[in-house]
Amino acid sequence: MKFKGTAHKVGEHIDTDAIIPARFLVTTDVKILGQNCMEGLEPGWIKRIKPGDIIVAERNFGCGSSREHAPLAILGAGIGLVIAHSFARIFYRNAFNMGLMLLEVGDGIDKLNDGDCLEADAASGVITNLATGAAIQCPPLPSFMQELLQKGGLVPYVKERLSR
């Protein structure tokens, strides 16, 4: 899976209330959730986003609640990839289950700036900053998670298990 888009940089400890405030949790409609993505960080944030853009975050992105509405809101905003120094644990699982790609890069995050055009290859784990030419190599995913991704996420995985 390959991604190319403009980086939108956010800070550290971006919590799920920032990604999608609780007042929007009265729907499971991905489109409506997407329209309110990051509304708790900066009202109107979504207006700057084009489909295919990439979120670039500091430490502990997605901390807080277990709401799956958070990765859904990001997907609903047309964003398919988040690159961060690190991710909060529940958000990490949720994103993979929902088909939102995450790349954890540690201190490599400093090579990515707001507005840079980025290219990323999920299979090889290589991120290229087209604005600066810098490249980052991410650690490979555990094999179990690769298998889960290959099956298309947890819903098809369980579906297959149940049909056996």
Partner: protein
């Protein structure tokens, strides 16, 4: 090899020998939980998986607690969807209305969770049950849907961080202060991907409800679980709550920990977590005069009977300051009834507090106590992210019930020692 409490609890549920951190294991689960916000998505995924029935009708629990009593049409429709699913699936444990309460106070009270259990819940504060010696962790709705269908899930075995609290608790120090002090020290990602395991003399002396308060906030340090050994106190508490013969479980001596932290509680004083992170922890005595508009006493962190008694201890014979709304939400119908029986509601209403129904409500900015622009709250809840309780321009300070009650009386953030 000596095992951590985490490894010891996981082992009987795992599909292989639990060797150590990083290993991916498939585990059977004792219980699967979701609430009115997360169950709707879980039901969607469950149906998408082609699942026809839940793995065990007695082991899938739905608790309507976040936006209940139903706050608007959309939330009423979400609850309706959950109710219809529960009936269709034949679930034994569906809670709504007069038998419902805040999930993490309700399940222990009903004896549905206990020592040695492995529980997954579509709510980040599922880790609360670690206070009883259960391995319990929050997941998203789709993971929970998988659990509902299969009765199992996968885990990466977490490394454990051991935290020791020694010493004797000073008069106004509470479990909430201990966990906030820890998060203040290690930060909101200080236990990321790890399990926190607690011990020491102060923990052995701490009541079980206090242990649940601490386990509840493990997630606020990024932790996967917050675990306490199950001891005589745990067994007694469980027996009082319909669960007889709960096992005693503890880590093996000599188990390996990723990190160790030691605190002496004798020298500690009441703290608050300042906006906008649970890790911004400061002693109350070090704060300037900060006027308060709202006080919330309740939630899965501090809405139990011991918390109600604590609030009453401070509020008895006193009045809530002018221009402060002090909202008290006992977390379950059982706690509500017990509070009433003990006369705590007389104390609360005489002081000028509002006593509300069991609900998560204001903790997540849902309803029953929302902050306007520039308003400040002291809350016994677990998160103070920007905008969490309402306006993006509001502030939440997290504290124990005694600090919250004292702040309601003075109208500024205060320790009860200052009254």
């Amino acid at each position: 090899m000596p095992q951590t409490l985490t490894q010891k609890i996981l082992q009987p549920y795992a599909d292989q020998k639990v060797e150590g951190p990083g290993q991916i294991v498939r585990c059977k689960v004792s219980l699967v939980l979701a609430n009115d916000i997360t169950a709707t998505l879980a039901i969607k995924s469950f149906k998408g998986m082609g699942a026809k029935q839940v793995f065990d009708k007695d082991k899938v629990v739905l608790v309507m607690d976040h936006y209940t009593p139903q706050k608007d049409i959309a939330s009423a429709n979400q609850v309706k969807e959950c109710r219809e699913f529960a009936r269709e699936a034949g679930l034994t444990h569906y809670y709504e209305g007069g038998n419902s309460g805040v999930e993490h106070a309700l399940l222990p009270e009903l004896g549905l969770v206990g020592p040695g259990d492995l529980i997954i819940g579509a709510d980040s504060h599922t880790c609360t049950y670690g206070g009883l010696g259960a391995f319990a962790t929050g997941m998203g709705s789709t993971d929970i849907a998988g659990g509902m269908a299969l009765g199992e899930t996968w885990f990466k075995v977490p490394p454990s961080i051991h935290v020791t609290f020694n010493g004797v608790m000073p008069k106004w120090l509470r479990a909430k202060d201990l966990i906030l002090a820890l998060i203040g020290k290690i930060g909101v990602d200080g236990a990321l991907y790890s399990a926190l395991e607690f011990g020491g003399a102060a923990i052995e002396n701490l009541d079980v409800e206090g242990r649940m308060t601490m386990a509840n906030m493990a997630i606020e340090a990024g932790g996967k679980a917050g675990l306490f050994a199950s001891d005589g106190k745990t067994r007694a508490w469980c027996a009082e709550h319909t669960r007889q013969d709960a096992p005693q479980i503890a880590a093996d001596p000599g188990a390996t920990y990723q990190e160790e932290h030691v605190f002496d509680v004798s020298a500690m004083e009441p703290v608050v977590a300042c906006p906008h992170l649970p890790g911004n922890v400061t002693p109350v005595s070090a704060l300037p005069n900060l006027p308060v508009n709202q006080v919330i006493i309740g939630s899965c962190t501090n809405g139990r009977i011991s918390d109600m008694r604590d609030a009453a201890l401070v509020l008895k014979g006193r009045k809530v300051a002018r221009d402060v709304r002090c909202i008290i939400l006992p977390a379950t119908p059982g706690i509500w009834k017990q509070s009433m029986k003990e006369g705590l509601f007389d104390i609360f209403t005489d002081a000028g507090c509002i006593v509300g129904p069991p609900t998560c409500g204001p903790c997540l900015g849902g309803h029953m106590g929302i902050l306007g622009d520039g308003e400040r709250a002291v809350a016994t809840t677990n998160r103070n992210f920007r905008g969490r309780m309402g306006s993006l321009e509001s502030e939440v300070y997290l504290s124990s019930p005694v600090v919250a009650a004292a702040s309601a009386v003075t109208g500024i953030i205060s320790s009860p020692a200052q009254l």
